[in-house]
Each structure stands twice: as C-alpha cells, then as structure tokens.
C-alpha cells in the first residue's frame, strides 16, 4: 500500500577479517562468588555463533555484561576493532547490539507497531510522533521478518512466535549488527522453531551476526558455524567445522577432565514405596512423569533449569492440579486439592524461592518455624490459645539442633543469612516428621559450611525413614546427596541413575538428551 522504501540490509563496510565483537578474558564476581573467571569470544559480522554451557557456567552474566547491565571486573571488549566500554544498555544499543531475552519484551495493550518501536527513538512532526512515517519505514522490515499481522493491530492474541518476530523487528529497526538470542525456542512449537531458524539464517545472510544461546544442542549444531562452550565461568572450548559435533559439545560442557567427587551417599537400604506418580501431566511443563519414591531414600531430580522439575514438585505438593495422571501416597490414591491437603497427608515442601515463597521475613524465627505446626502448640482443647512458652522452647531447640546462627527465637528471619534462612525453612517441616519431604534447590545461595550442614540434615531425615526428594541444578549436589537420581528434560524423565552410575557427568549428559528420541526408547 505504501511506496516501497526498501532499506538495505544494515551492513557496515568493515572487512570480513575484523570481527564485529571480541571479548578478552572477561571476569566478574558477585559478592564472593566468581561468576566469570575469564571468558573470551569473538563474533564475525554475519556469523551465527553458538553459546552453550551448564546452569551457572556464566552465560547469563556474560550477556548481561554485553548488554551493559553489569560491568566486568577485568577484561576488554572490542567492537569493530576498537576497545569499548558498555556502561549502559543504551550504549549497547548504540554500539549495534540487541538482546532478545527468554522473557520477551512487549506491552500487551499496544499495537504491533508500537511494540516494534518500544524504546526506539521515533520520528516526529511538530512535536508529535509521526506514526504514519514510522509505519512507512517499518513496513518493509516487518515484511522481511514475516510479521503477518497488520502493524496497527493489537498484539493481544498473537502467538509467542509472533511476539518473537516483533522483537527481531525491533532489533532491525535499531540497525542491530549483533542480535543476542537467549533460549529462543524454549516456548515455541516445532513448526514455529523452523520458521525462526529460517529468519536467523536470513539475518546472517544479510550481515547481521547472531549469538545463539540454547540448551538444545541439535539446534545449535544445525544453525551455528562456531560454538563457544562455557564451564564454571571460563570459556573452555570453541568448536567449529569437523570438531563441531554432539559428543564433543557434551564433553566440553561436562568437562571430561573433572573427576567426580567421591560418592558420599552410600546406597542405603530403602523401604517401601511411599509415594508414586504415574503419567503425571500438566502441559506444557510436565509430561507423563512416572516415579516411585521409597521410604528412607534421597531421590534426586536433575536436569536443566526449565526442565519442569519445580512444576513437578508443585504437582506432588498440591500447589497445582495435574491435567492427567495419578498419584498414590502410602498405597492410597492421593489427589491433593491444595498444599494444605498435602500437608495433612504428610508432605512438606521447601520451595525454590525461599524469600518469596517460604519465609515471612518480617516475622520471628519462632513464627516461621511454628506456622506449619500450630496444632501442636496449643495450650489444650479447652484453651485454644497459642502456648507461647512451648513455642519458644521448640524454636530454641530447633535453633540449637540445626545450629541456626541467630541471637534468639524472636529475631526476624529477614535478618538471617541465606543458609540460616534455609535452615528455618527446613526446620518448619522437621517438627511434623512428614512422610515425604521435597526440597527444591536446597542450597542455592548458601555458603559451603551451611551447605554441608543442610546435606547432613537431609541424610539424617532419610536415615530415620523419611522419603526425601531433592531438586537441584548444581551438578555436584545430587551425586553428593542422593541414592538415586532421575534426570528430567523438557518435562519428561529421560534417565534413571542408581548407585555408582550417579555422577555429575551422567546427569549433565542425560540433561541434554533429546527427549523425543528417548520417548521412542521407552515405547519400545
């Protein structure tokens, strides 16, 4: 409808020999934790460069530094051969970088065009935004990336894939020369992903470089000419050409040289099946999960962030309802309508986000410990008041036995360190001696000393006959702690590891297994 005003592909005259971006030995620490110990990476104009690594390898920190959200402690970044400091996100945009995060940036109430122009300086006439002129400029770009919705339509009701295209379009309007894509296919259907790949290749052909971050190794192998691998805050490998294949990638991600730590969790004799799930499904995160949890065992659930582990825990705990599938607890059918019902049935959950989901930060340790045990802290049947003395005693005892570092039981939990907060969250359930205790990332953000204590505590509970389920993304945690590990990928359990087979390497390898392929194995 508008006159064709075709803007050329945003190419620069830089010769192909000069990389667009070079990062030299970037290091970054947060508090005491060294997130990046030295990563280097270069990206040529128009290159599709892959970036892979296990959880906590430092990918996110690296991207945040490129985006100007964090500043490196050491190292150097060059753009077009010139050393640059990326002080702010605005600066990153000026330098020609655009970022498409997993959580796509868009405003639901606005039109497609308004969303494309979100945060982009706009043409104006007489001080008013000249949307007609902008639409004229944007239309060809939108056509090029394949946005089918009219520019003046609302984004309401558009699919994730279309929102993703809007984000791409925004990057192109900003004349981006490097687009960083973080897990772009995480929430896309297979056909949508195909379309996305085509666009990525088209971008590359027109000279726009792409940094492609994904846990899906097949995609990375398909799309990328070179792949950088991060491990424990270092860039450990750069694979290209013939060296770029699946086994090599897995090897680099896991780190072949790293010996597995001694398996401290000896396989204990385990008791009867306490909890059982069969074909538990809640789309799209949990798909047909079956598991058996025995009394006296610590069962680990490994896998990548987003594999559906937390969602599985929420189903078991009644926080969400499954679409289909069955659960049994101590042989009886178990369909918890709420966490309250699960607690009554004998479960306890220590959620992943302890400050947001487990604790009452402004309340005392005693309050936090007693909230799931109020029935035990009443004066008596005829005096339904809190027995405050009993509560203080109970809290004091817990503080001692879990060695929680606090002045006394009335200290607000918000003032405690992460490790001590976690002990309070665990202590809450120990009062009840639940049949099943589920811990989601029990030692995240916890110092080494507290971590060892929490591990000892968890094993103690299993020794006394409790069935314990531990979810962890830390590769070393599950081999240290668990008798048996189930690995989840994309909502399914893809492998079971027992005894000496439980190792960091086996868990990480299984996390990257293509679940489609494995499902066929199961059917067979």
């Amino acid at each position: 409808m508008q006159t064709a005003f075709t803007r050329g592909a945003p190419q620069q005259a830089a010769p192909m020999t000069t990389p667009f971006l070079v990062a030299h030995d970037i290091a970054k620490a947060f508090g005491g934790a060294q997130a990046l110990k030295g990563v280097s990476l270069d990206i040529a104009p128009g290159e599709i460069h892959g970036l892979v690594g296990a959880n906590g390898a430092g990918k996110s920190t690296f991207i945040r530094i490129l985006a100007g959200l964090n500043h490196p402690d050491a190292g150097r970044i060059e753009i077009d051969g010139q050393t640059r400091e990326i002080a702010t996100p605005q600066r990153a945009t000026e330098l020609g970088m655009s970022f498409i995060h997993q959580e796509l940036a868009f405003v639901p109430g606005m039109t497609v065009l308004q969303n494309i122009m979100l945060g982009v300086p706009k043409k104006s006439r007489f001080g008013l935004t000249d949307w007609r002129a902008i639409a004229r400029d944007v239309a060809p770009i939108a056509r090029r990336v394949g946005i089918s919705a009219p520019l003046n339509a609302s984004v309401k009701g558009l699919s994730t894939a279309e929102i993703w295209l809007i984000n791409i379009c925004r990057a192109l309007v900003r004349k981006a020369r490097l687009i960083v894509m973080d897990e772009p296919t995480a929430s896309l259907a297979a056909s949508e992903a195909e379309r996305l790949f085509a666009i990525v290749r088209d971008l590359s052909a027109s000279g726009v470089a792409v940094l492609y971050i994904s846990h899906r190794l097949d995609e990375v192998l398909n799309l990328c000419s070179r792949v950088s691998v991060f491990r424990d805050g270092r860039s450990v490998a750069e694979l290209a050409g013939k060296g770029l294949n699946r086994p090599a990638l897995v090897e680099a991600i896991v780190g072949g040289a790293i010996r597995d730590s001694q398996r401290t969790a000896a396989t204990r004799p385990r008791g009867d099946v306490v909890m059982e799930a069969s074909k538990l499904t809640r789309a799209p995160k949990v798909r047909g999960v079956s598991l058996k949890l025995h009394a006296g065992e610590v069962l680990g659930i490994g896998g990548l962030v987003g594999a559906g582990r937390t969602e599985l825990a929420r189903l078991l705990f009644g926080a969400d309802r499954p679409d289909s599938g069955e659960m049994r607890l101590a042989g009886q059918p178990y369909q918890p309508a709420s966490p309250a019902a699960a607690v009554r049935a004998g479960l306890g959950l220590i959620p992943e986000e302890r400050r947001a989901e487990a604790l009452f930060l402004s309340k005392s340790i005693a309050f936090n410990l007693s909230i799931a045990n109020l029935d035990k802290l009443v004066h008596g049947r005829y005096l339904p008041l809190m027995n405050r003395r009993a509560r203080t005693l109970m809290a004091g005892e817990m503080i001692r036995s879990l060695s929680i570092k606090a002045r006394n039981a009335s200290t607000p939990v918000g003032r405690l360190s992460g490790g001590n907060q976690q002990k309070v969250a665990i202590g809450r359930w120990l009062q009840r001696t639940p049949k099943v205790l589920i811990l989601d990332e029990p030692t995240r953000g916890v110092d080494i000393g507290a971590r060892a204590e929490i591990h000892r505590l968890i094993r103690q509970q299993a020794d006394s006959g409790m069935a314990v389920l531990v979810i962890s993304s830390e590769p070393d945690e599950l081999p240290d702690l668990c008798d048996r590990v189930l690995v989840m990928a994309e909502g399914r359990i893809v492998r079971e590891l027992t005894g000496q087979a439980v190792s960091r390497k086996a868990i990480v390898e299984a996390s990257y297994v293509d679940p489609q392929a494995l499902m066929e194995d199961h059917v067979a």
Binding site: F317, P339, P384
Partner: protein, 331 residues
C-alpha cells in the same frame, strides 16, 4: 528517593536508633504530646475523668468498626463496604425493633448475622471470583446503600423507638462505665486475642505477611481471607446497631463517614509499634489519636471543617514520618 538514600549514608548509628524509635513509637509519643498540650491549654475542661470517658464513649463506635477493618487489612485486603454496611444495619435494626416489634436481642443477632453474610459475600467475590478487594467491596457497599434507601424509602425511622433500644448505647454498666466502652473493650480485646494469641491468628498474620509462603506452608489462604471479611462485616454491624441506638433513629447514610475514620485509625495504627504492619493495638492507638484530636478542637471551639483537615493531616504526617523514619533507620 535517591536523595534520601545519599543523605542516609551520613547518618550516625545514634541518629538511626532515634529514627527507628520514632518510627515505632512516634504515634504514641504524638498521642501523649497531644493529651499533655490540651491539658495545659485547657486544664479545667480537658483532663477530667468526665471528658476522657466522654471521648472514649464517642470513639468506641469508630474503634469497633476500625477493629473489624483491621482484620481485613491484616489478611492483605481492603474493605470499603463497612461504612455503607453500618448504615444499612442501623436502619435495619431500627426497623426490626420499631416496625416488626422483634425482641431486641433477636434483632441484634439477626443484624450481626447479616453483617457476617455481607463479609462472606465480600470474601467470596475477592477470593473465588478474584475481583480486586477495592472494587468488590466498593460495589457491595454501593448495593448496600441502595438497599438501605429501599428499606427506609428514603425516610429516617425516628418515631416509636423504644427506650430499651436507646439504652443499648446510652446505658451504663459496671461502675457506671458506658455500654459502648464495655462493648468496645470486649471486641478489641477479643480481636487482639484472636490475632496475637491463637493458632488461627498466626495463620491470619502469615497470610498478611506473605500469602504465597502461607499457602505453601499449608495455610488455607482463601478461608483466612474470607474470615477477615466476615469479622470486618460483623464489626460494621455492631457499630451500625450502636449508632442507631445512640441516635435513636435509623437513617440511610448515618454511618457512611465511619469508613474514613476507620481507615485513618487502621493506617495510623500500622505506623505504631510494628514496622508498617497492621495490628489491633495499633488501630486502638490510631483511633485514640483521632478521638482526642477531635475532642481538643471541639473544646477550643474550632469549626467542624477543621476536624476533617486535622484527620487527614494527622494520618499523612504520622504514616509518612513512620515510613520515612523506618527507611532511614534501616540503611
């Protein structure tokens, strides 16, 4: 905000401690300062047993309705229906007693039960239909106003109110303490006991503190929230009954203004003793500040409009100072 942050860095520990104390005890210090000032300025009229009893008697109705509202805000919701509800309850009880000739105790029970039902409806709309509590209770409150006008046909019920009904509010008991004060003490005492000393109260505080954590700790969050609304509704009914008895009539909008007073008392209370948390004792202090402030202005013959200005100003100053003091002291 950043200006405050920068200047806060230079505060000495001593200053921080003082600010922290002011954040918690500022309202109580203010209340005492007000009483002392009024006592000095008007030594004959203000600091008398008679005047204090009078102030408490006047304030009791607001304290009861504010006590109920405290339960709604403790569980993290707002109840804007209470003033309109109290008006309806007032006209309804007058009608039941005057027109239907019901025995007074029965009429009281019926009206309080209606208050509980209104709370139940509010709670249901908020927790199950998931309507924001401001909208839900404003809607319900507006409907109640309509019902009040429908019931009274817009005409206040004045004639034929029996003496026994007037005595509900005007009577005195136990050493000549006005009934209103006794009811207020029983209600606030009961609410305090419920929130601070019972297992249910722990759950109520948990829901207000962090509803997500409360749910995952096995607390039935919806039920607790509904309970908050029900108690709020019952207290509104009680205030409506006592007001009708005090006025000797039922009028369709008599208690509407209690909404603002109750909110002022509750939010003043959140700036008392605890760091920004709502609690029954705080509400009591908040209501006392408003009551003594009004009383002092009355004694000095200040015009009516100044009372509203005072109520608004005290609220903003007290809550503002407490929150500012708290954020400075915590840095």
């Amino acid at each position: 905000m950043s200006d405050v942050a920068i200047s806060a860095r230079r505060l000495s520990p001593g200053t921080k401690a003082v600010l922290g104390i002011f954040a918690r005890y500022g309202t109580i210090i203010g209340l005492l300062a007000m009483i002392v000032t009024f006592s000095i300025l008007s030594p004959h009229a203000f600091p008398t047993v008679n005047n204090f009893t009078n102030v408490l008697n006047q304030a009791s109705l607001a304290m009861i309705i504010a006590g109920g509202l405290t339960l709604a805000v403790v569980v993290g919701e707002l109840d804007l229906s209470i003033g309109f509800a109290a008006s309806l309850h007032g006209i309804l009880i007058t009608g039941l007693v005057v027109h239907d000739k019901l025995p007074i105790p029965l009429a009281v029970v019926i009206v309080i039960a209606l208050g509980a039902v209104i709370g139940l409806v509010n709670g249901f709309i908020v927790t199950k239909v998931k309507v924001n509590s401001v909208i839900a209770t404003l809607g319900v409150g507006t409907i109640l106003t309509g019902l009040a006008f429908a019931y009274s046909a817009g005409v206040p019920i004045v004639a034929g109110v029996p003496e026994a009904f007037l005595q509900l509010s005007l009577g005195r008991w136990l050493f000549g303490i006005p009934n209103n004060i006794i009811v207020m003490i029983l209600v606030l005492g009961g609410l305090w006991l419920l929130v601070e000393r019972t297992p249910l109260g722990q759950e109520i505080q948990a829901v207000g503190g962090n509803a997500v954590a409360a749910r995952l700790a096995g607390v039935n969050v919806d039920r607790i929230k509904i309970l908050g609304f029900v108690i709020s509704g019952m207290c509104a009914a009680l205030t409506g009954i006592l007001l009708a008895s005090r006025l000797g009539s039922g009028t369709a909008s008599a208690a509407d203004s209690y909404l603002l007073t109750a909110f002022a008392a509750v939010f003043l209370g959140s700036a008392t003793l605890r760091d920004g948390e709502f609690h029954v004792l705080g509400t009591l202090v908040g209501a006392l500040i408003i009551a003594f402030g009004f009383n002092g202005l009355n004694i000095f013959g200040a015009p009516t409009f100044s009372q509203y200005v005072l109520q608004g100003a005290i609220l903003i100053i007290a809550v503002g100072m407490a929150s500012l003091g708290r954020s400075l002291a915590e840095r």
